[in-house]
């Protein structure tokens, strides 16, 4: 470690706020947000979102300079010319039926590499116009080596990913995405977050003590202006947790930041341009007697979120008065009158999936799609990726709703190739009003090679969840959102018009048992065969090499003497 070094380079370092003329303003910005939603069941859902927006053509710049955008992810995007990247790790299952529709649900592990479609700042999904931007080059994905992707992501996210087979690309929406059939179990990703602002609440031992826990990274391009002449890159790191407030709070549904996270908010993140906490106080408005939030919110925000009108209390950490009063901010919610245990409103769209059948040869995959809207039918896009070792019989595909056959208006089926690619089944199904639609398909379980089994084959094999995308009619008409101004949880999906909203749901992942061989079988077979061969050989050998003589009959012998005794007793002449 010599301390002297020859110097040949000057790097200009300029102080920011002091103002020695910034060479150019930073082109990236960070917004952070926490939404706390008391769920009808008494649980509390907390959704963190950290959104980094970078006004840079990530794929076309030779030298890459990163500020808020993480370098590892940026390099991933530019090296492989990705258009989108969605990666999520989830433990637990979002119970849509009881918790209501989530802002953004995620299956247990899901990698999604998008190709086209740029989210315009006006909200509608608009493809890049080729006139203003160079023609988009052909996609280098899926890579020839299916291991490259999981490997790179594994190193970046400290997660165990195992991708089997090739990537598959659905034909329709989500537009041109290729998703990877991943073993739907993985360990944890480590977030590279800043240690200030909302992220102080992220304390591992509390976050993993929850009934639902989902981390996700979404990278996608967004339009920089209305005409979408140039694009920016958006990185959203989200974390959703559901705390069982009812049990930890000894039967009370009250909660506070400290009780959930064992931390309180102390300062805004100095790098964030927006740092806010939203608390859902929808019931508060209807009747002032039900609940109380402390400290009282200075402003509220009302909008139509996922089809229903919601009211949120806003705590802006950048508002200096907010924290200065007490040096920290511990938001508390107390129920003045315990909310009556009314049945929570059932969401218009929810789904269920299961495997039926008995034995280890055949089975049936069934998906139940519920449309609880009293009078409106709406179409749902159902996307299924089924691993190749469940051999689907497509002729058994039946879709029934209200006892009648429901013919899908669009079907795309891509058959599986053994060990290469999974089945891909995509259907556009019209769900009649107030109905249950059952989609079922039969399959046969394939035999794997004995090296292809996982170390715990009797646990079963996971089948990734089906994905449901739908425009669900909303109760209240929503205004189109302003992309940059509205809170982050409201700008996840573009709203095309106010009469319906976009929902993407994932069903449960399934666990299917495959016929599992006895793994000592090869050895047993070898031993048995060898023994049979050895016995045959032995007698053959004996027969050929032994010499046979004629034995002279001998007098005596125990048997003969015994026989003679008996004969004598019977009065028969002895031998």
């Amino acid at each position: 470690m010599a301390a002297a070094m020859p110097l040949a380079l000057l790097v200009l370092l300029l102080l920011g706020p002091g103002g020695w003329c910034l060479a150019e303003p930073p082109r990236d910005s960070l917004r952070e947000e926490l939404v706390i939603t008391p769920l009808p069941s008494g649980d509390v859902a907390a959704t963190f979102q950290f959104r980094t927006r970078w006004d840079s053509e990530l794929q076309r710049e030779g030298v890459s300079h990163y500020r808020l955008f993480p370098k590892a992810l940026g390099q991933l995007i530019s090296k492989y010319s990705l258009r989108e990247l969605h990666l999520s790790f989830t433990q637990g299952f979002w119970r849509t039926r009881y918790w209501g529709p989530p802002f953004l649900q995620a299956p247990s592990v899901w990698i999604n590499l998008g190709r086209s479609s740029v989210m315009s700042s006006q909200g509608s999904s608009a493809p890049l116009s080729t006139s203003s931007t160079p023609p988009t080059q052909s996609l280098p994905l899926p890579p020839s080596n299916p291991w490259v992707w999981p490997m790179t992501l594994t190193t970046t996210f400290c997660a165990m990913l195992c991708c089997r087979g090739r990537w598959s690309a659905p034909k329709t929406s989500p537009p041109g995405r290729s998703s990877c059939p991943v073993v739907p179990r993985a360990s944890l990703i480590s977030f590279h977050l800043l240690q200030a602002g909302l992220s102080v609440l992220l304390k591992a031992d509390r976050l993993f003590h929850t009934s639902y826990h989902s981390q996700a990274v979404h990278i996608r391009p967004v339009c920089r202006n209305a005409r979408c002449t140039s694009i920016s890159w958006e990185l959203r790191q989200t974390l959703s947790v559901v705390f069982d407030a009812f049990i930890t709070g000894q039967g009370k549904k009250d909660w506070s930041l400290f009780r959930m996270f064992s931390r309180t908010l102390t300062e805004p993140c100095p790098l964030a341009s927006e740092s806010r906490v939203y608390v859902d106080i929808t019931t508060y408005n209807q009747d002032n007697e039900t609940l109380e939030v402390h400290p009282p919110p200075t402003t509220t925000y009302q909008d139509v979120i996922l089809g229903t009108r919601k009211t949120y209390a806003i705590y802006d950490l950048l508002d200096t008065a907010m924290i200065n009063n007490s040096r920290n901010l511990n938001i508390q919610l107390k129920w003045k009158r315990p909310p009556e245990n009314e049945a929570p409103p059932v969401p218009f769209l929810h789904a269920q999936r299961y495997v039926s059948g008995y034995g280890l040869q055949k089975g049936e995959l069934s998906t139940l799609l519920y449309n609880t809207h009293p009078y409106r039918a709406f179409p749902v896009l159902l996307l299924d990726t089924v691993p190749w070792y469940l051999r689907l019989y497509v002729h058994t595909l039946t879709i029934t709703s209200k006892g009648k056959e429901n013919k899908p208006s669009y079907i795309h089926y891509q058959p599986a190739q053994d060990r290469l690619q999974p089945h891909l089944l995509e259907m556009l199904i019209q769900l009649p009003a107030n109905s249950v639609t059952k989609v079922s398909i039969q399959f046969e379980r394939a035999l794997l090679k004995w090296t292809e089994y996982t170390p715990d084959p009797n646990h079963g094999f996971y089948v990734s969840p089906s994905v449901l995308s739908a425009l669900v009619p909303s109760m209240v008409a929503a205004k189109p959102v302003d992309w940059e101004e509205s809170p982050l949880f409201n700008s996840l999906f573009p709203v095309s018009d106010g009469s319906n909203y976009f929902v993407r749901l994932y069903t449960e992942p399934l666990l299917v048992n495959l016929p599992t061989p006895d793994f000592s079988m090869p050895y047993n077979v070898i031993c048995l065969t060898c023994t049979v061969v050895a016995v045959c050989y032995g007698s053959f050998y004996n027969l050929l090499t032994r010499t046979f003589h004629i034995e002279e009959p001998r007098t005596g012998g125990l048997a003969k003497r015994l026989a003679n005794l008996i004969r004598r007793a019977r009065g028969v002449p002895p031998l």
């Binding site: 470690m1 010599a2 301390a3 002297a4 070094m5 020859p6 110097l7 040949a8 380079l9 000057l10 790097v11 200009l12 370092l13 300029l14 102080l15 920011g16 706020p17 002091g18 020695w20 910034l22 060479a23 030298v63 890459s64 990163y66 500020r67 993480p70 370098k71 590892a72 992810l73 390099q75 991933l76 530019s78 090296k79 790179t152 190193t155 970046t156 590279h192 800043l194 240690q195 200030a196 300062e267 100095p270 790098l271 050895y523 070898i526 031993c527 060898c530 023994t531 061969v533 050895a534 016995v535 050989y537 032995g538 050998y541 050929l544 090499t545 032994r546 010499t547 046979f548 003589h549």
Partner: protein, 537 residues
């Protein structure tokens, strides 16, 4: 009746004996080879003898030097002898199995008219500019101009001059032994410009015994096809100061020209990042006398590890990464100095870690600063050892002289060859030692390729073609490592012997025991029957 019975029994016994012998013969002649063939691991043939030959490889590094004599540089009768060629060969003593010889092939010739004209101009720089134009010199070659003893081209006390390109100027002498004296000077200059012992020792640092060469020699990054350079600005306290750096401009202005000049040595990619809340692993001490904070020299090794985890692995490539870190201390810890062993602050306030990069600490943020940190040694460009009374030309705009690049390429070629040879030798050793390893055809072809590339590179070095030698040496390293790290080598490696026995014994034991027993019996009987007749006699 009894005789007939005995004869029949005798026949039977003989038949049984024949059958047993036949069984044994079939088992040995047919069964054993069949078993051997079917359970054999596939091992493609490898050029073992050539690989062991590589170990004793003699590297001749030929540096073609063109020596140009101007009119009054040497006595006239000596000039009559021109042109001719002199070879100066010297073995470089290194404690390494590879013998390295340096050959300076000096082609003496008279100066052409335009060269005479250029060298009679007023200053070296002018002369260089005039000489520069006509021809492009090949990589690795040098041109030395010998000027007259009293020429005013160089300052009077200087004997030689090394230019930024592949040229040098040496003062001539009017002496009977002129060629010998000048020849020695030329070799000195040429060595400084191409190959010296310590350059090669630094290149082979990994392959030499530890004690001989200091850690300083291990500073440069190992030879690789490409390098990644990452500039990171560490700001542990964004609340107090929001720091911005014009790294794009700096890279464009200062780094990129250097890397462009260095382009022949590998691919370079540059990126930068700003890391917030990235702390050093050590708490700086407070010095009340100067009311400043300082980092001890011996605590510097602990600084890097916690920072490194934040630097992030590179997702895009596998090239070695060079890190240049600029640390802006927290407001509470500024001003921050690095102290050397004696407790005095280090002038540059920076330190480097061999093969990793460097960290520079900003003292205080009172004014806009232009910190400089760049270490040419990390790239393997060592300071030249100049002969006495030698003038070195000023730095070029790229910060790299052409002959320095050549010197790097010489060193890298030798290093690549040494690496490839070591890899191939250890691969051959490993394959010889463990007979379970499968050698596939593609592994074998990579090995053949690597061997061929090593030989080609050595030939090219011997004939003075540096560029193609370097390319061949890179190929050699790539192929040899591909072969060495091929995953197919591991396929059957962990197939233990007890499993093999468990599978073979149920078949082999019941088959082998009767055969062996009957063979033993036959053997004993034959011996008995041989002895019997002797006894009766």
């Amino acid at each position: 009746m009894a005789a007939a019975g005995a004869a029949a029994t005798h026949l039977e016994v003989a038949r049984g004996k024949r059958a047993a012998l036949f069984f044994a013969a079939v088992a040995i002649v047919l069964g054993l080879p069949l078993w051997w063939k079917t359970t054999e691991t596939y091992r493609a043939s490898l050029p073992y003898s050539q690989i062991s030959g590589l170990n004793a490889l003699q590297l001749r590094l030929m540096v073609p030097v063109t020596v140009v004599f101007t009119r009054e540089s040497v006595p006239l009768d000596d000039q009559e002898k021109l042109p001719f060629t002199v070879v100066h060969e010297r073995e470089i003593p290194l404690k390494y199995k590879m013998k390295i010889k340096c050959r300076f092939q000096k082609a003496y010739r008279r100066a052409l008219d335009h060269e005479e004209e250029a060298l009679s101009s007023g200053s070296v720089q002018e002369a260089e500019a005039m000489l520069d134009e006509p021809q492009e010199q090949a990589e690795g070659s040098l041109t030395v101009y010998v000027i007259s003893e009293h020429s005013s081209l160089l300052p009077q006390d200087m004997m030689s001059y090394i230019g930024p390109k592949r040229t040098a100027v040496v003062r001539g002498i009017m002496h009977r032994e002129a060629f010998n004296i000048i020849g020695r000077r030329i070799v000195q200059v040429a060595q400084a410009m191409s190959l010296t012992e310590d350059v090669l020792a630094a290149a082979l640092a990994d392959h030499l015994p530890e004690d001989k060469w200091s850690a300083e020699k291990r500073r440069p990054l190992k030879s690789s096809l490409g390098y990644e350079i990452t500039f990171s600005l560490l700001n542990p306290d964004p609340k107090s100061h929001d720091v911005y750096w014009d790294i794009e401009g700096a890279v464009r202005r200062y780094v990129q020209p250097f890397l462009n000049a260095l382009g022949a040595a590998g691919n370079f990619s540059v990126d930068s990042q700003i890391l917030y809340y990235a702390m050093l692993g050590v708490n700086p001490r407070f010095d009340s006398a100067s009311s400043s904070y300082y980092l001890d020299m011996h605590s510097l090794p602990h600084v890097i590890n916690p920072v490194e985890s934040r630097l992030g692995s590179s997702a895009a490539s596998l090239y070695p990464v060079l890190n240049f870190l600029l640390y802006v201390p927290e407001l509470a810890h500024s001003p921050l100095y690095i102290q050397d062993k004696d407790g005095a602050p280090v002038a540059t306030n920076a330190f480097h870690s061999p093969r990793w990069g460097g960290i520079m600490v900003i003292v205080t943020l009172r004014r806009p600063q232009s910190p400089c940190f760049w270490d040419r040694l990390l790239f393997g460009i060592a300071q030249p050892q100049l002969p006495p009374k030698c003038l070195l030309s000023g730095p070029t705009s790229e910060g790299l002289m052409t002959w320095e690049l050549d010197r790097l390429l010489w060193a890298r070629s030798v290093e690549n060859l040494a690496t490839a040879t070591t890899t191939l030798t250890s691969l051959a050793q490993l394959l010889g030692k463990i007979s379970n390893i499968v050698i596939k055809d593609d592994v074998a072809s990579e090995v053949y390729k690597a061997v061929a590339a090593v030989q080609k590179s050595a030939e090219e070095l011997a004939s003075g073609h540096l560029a193609s030698a370097f390319v061949a040496s890179q190929e050699a390293v790539t192929s040899s490592e591909l072969a060495f790290f091929d995953p197919s080598l591991l396929h059957l490696l962990y197939f233990p012997d007890d499993q093999k026995f468990a599978i073979y014994i149920p078949l082999f034991l019941p088959m082998a025991v009767p055969i062996l027993l009957s063979l033993v019996k036959i053997f004993l009987e034959t011996r008995k029957s041989w002895r019997k007749p002797e006894k009766t006699d």
